[in-house]
């Protein structure tokens, strides 16, 4: 072409570019949308005034039964009142939970185990029944998601002759049994490597380093999954299959051990929505120097892959002392304004973040003094790990 174009020529050409129509009919598109699970499976947010009749009646009966005791104690036993109210509230919360669980579709197959304290985090009290097998699973987006696969204690005791195995023992015993693809994750584990542990030092002999270090993204996934899988060690020494320090394509020869701080990873936790499930996870494994920085970062959606656990419009200020962070909501927060899931992610996302800086979390200015199994009048229990899921393939 010999024509010379000026900007005006290009603007005219651009404005006359052909219109491209969709060949599908409106009805085709509508049918496709109606068939999408996400349009069917969204749990309805239930405003209080629209509780189904049977729940409203049940609540009325409960309150009618409790009312005499509330009245009898109106001489000023505030604690008894609070207990009665919180019992009623707790009961109503549990019935709402029952309704939501019953109405949830197959996409919620990782529904909270009602024996657990939380939904997105595991707590020390949960460890009476289970041993958590922690694993960094890799999504199709090439992102690492930390999960805690719950293995019943009797099974661990039978397989490993201990109920307090190391994370390496759990990994070597159970990793082959994990079908990552059944959870829609990529088949990343087991690592093509052998391991040795000596007290708090883990040594990893990698057979094919190229498969983990060929690009900066691969290296990032590799290091993030390692720190989300192996806990209880101070450091990881990486060697090649000749026993020499490995060489990463991006970083060269690695002569220093890789620090493992699984209890204190200094992440900020966000919502990761993946294949109709929600998880809480750090955004690209990013770490922060201080807990204040992490909590400040959590106020905003970090990118298009993750979302903040803080509901829109909710703001807070922080108060700190040496061992405790208090998150004080600027306006009284009513957890019933959110779905159960949103409320759990808010509470547990904040708790996991604060705990992984070695501090405890106190939430303040919440309308509910207690909610589900949380008591907001005191610091929250320490979260041990994130995203508990039942491992269906292991018989109880």
């Amino acid at each position: 072409m010999s024509k010379h174009y000026e900007e005006k020529d290009l603007e005219q050409l651009l404005q006359s570019m052909p219109t491209v129509k969709d060949n599908r009919s409106k009805e085709d598109l509508l049918r496709s949308l109606q068939g999408d699970e996400r349009m069917r499976g969204q749990p309805p947010k239930k405003p209080k005034s629209k509780l189904p009749l049977w729940i409203a009646l049940a609540a009325a009966v409960i309150l009618a039964i409790l009312s005499p005791s509330i009245i009898a104690n109106m001489t000023g036993k505030e604690q008894a009142d609070q207990k009665s109210e919180s019992e009623a509230e707790s009961y109503m919360s549990e019935t709402k939970l029952k309704l939501q669980e019953e109405s949830s579709d197959e996409a919620n197959k990782f529904t909270m185990d009602r024996a657990l304290i939380g939904k997105y985090a595991l707590y020390e009290a949960d460890l009476k029944q289970f041993v958590p097998f922690r694993l960094g699973l890799v999504s199709e987006d090439a992102l690492s998601v930390p999960v805690s696969i719950l293995i019943p204690k009797p099974r661990v005791s039978s397989d490993l002759k201990t109920t307090t195995p190391t994370s390496l023992q759990l990994y070597e015993q159970y990793v082959e049994s994990i079908d990552e693809e059944s959870y829609h994750f990529t088949s990343y584990h087991p690592y093509d490597a052998t391991f040795e542990e000596q007290q708090d030092i883990l040594t990893m002999r990698i057979n094919d380093i190229e498969s983990y270090s060929g690009s900066s993204a691969m290296s990032e996934i590799f290091s993030t999954t390692l720190e989300q899988t192996f806990y209880g060690y101070k450091e990881l020494i990486m060697l090649n299959n000749e026993g020499k320090p490995v060489e990463f394509a991006q970083a060269g020869v690695i002569t220093e051990p890789f620090a493992l701080n699984s209890e204190l990873n200094r992440y900020a936790y966000y919502t990761y929505s993946y294949h109709d499930h929600y998880y809480v996870a750090p955004s690209f494994g990013a770490k922060y120097s201080t807990v204040e920085q992490a909590l400040d970062a959590m106020r905003e959606k970090p990118n298009d892959f993750y979302d903040t656990v803080i509901p829109e419009g909710v703001t807070f200020t922080l108060e700190m002392d040496q061992s405790r962070v208090t998150v004080l909501f600027d306006e009284e927060l009513d957890l019933n304004d959110y779905t159960l899931d949103e409320a759990y992610r808010l509470i547990e996302g904040l708790n996991l973040t604060v705990n992984n800086f070695g501090m405890e979390l106190q939430l303040s200015n919440i309308k509910q003094g207690t909610w589900q199994k949380f008591d907001f009048r005191r610091p929250l229990p320490k979260a041990v790990s994130a995203n508990p899921i039942r491992f269906n393939d292991i018989a109880e």
Partner: protein, 178 residues
Amino acid sequence: MDDSVFHRLYDEYHDDLFHFLIYLVGNRTDAEDLSHEVYIRVMRSYKHFRGQSSEKTWLFAIAKNVAIDHFRKKAVRAKYNDVHFDWETETLPADDRLPEQWVAYNEEKSELYRCLNRCTGDQKLVITLRYLQQLSIKETATILEWTESKVKTTQHRALQKLKQLMNAPSNERGESDE
């Protein structure tokens, strides 16, 4: 799902929406998938739409995010092959299969489309919204969540780039005609 909302949105905006998406991604299959995704997000968040922008700019902002997610996912997978992608400075890894209508098209416009694919992601977004969708600077800024100043400078750079490419000899444009 409220079918009446869908019907209204479809009747008012679907042609423009599809037109926008297909020019960004360059192939019909992806445009169909992305438009489905846009409606999913729109229908799920419709009750939260507060009317702070026009309905059309709100819907196009969602479409823009869906398209960005699409390109980011492609780029993330490409990272395994050590292909680094930066949305603001690099070209979109667009599919060069042109919609079939273009077969009937004149060569000049086909060439312009190829040149558009060699602009950065930001530039292509601005050109598509400003010229193919005929949106104002203000509407474009709202959709992209940019300042109006950024829209203007990006548009200027995009036109400069297109001018440079369209005026280069064909063997210097870097891509052969397909």
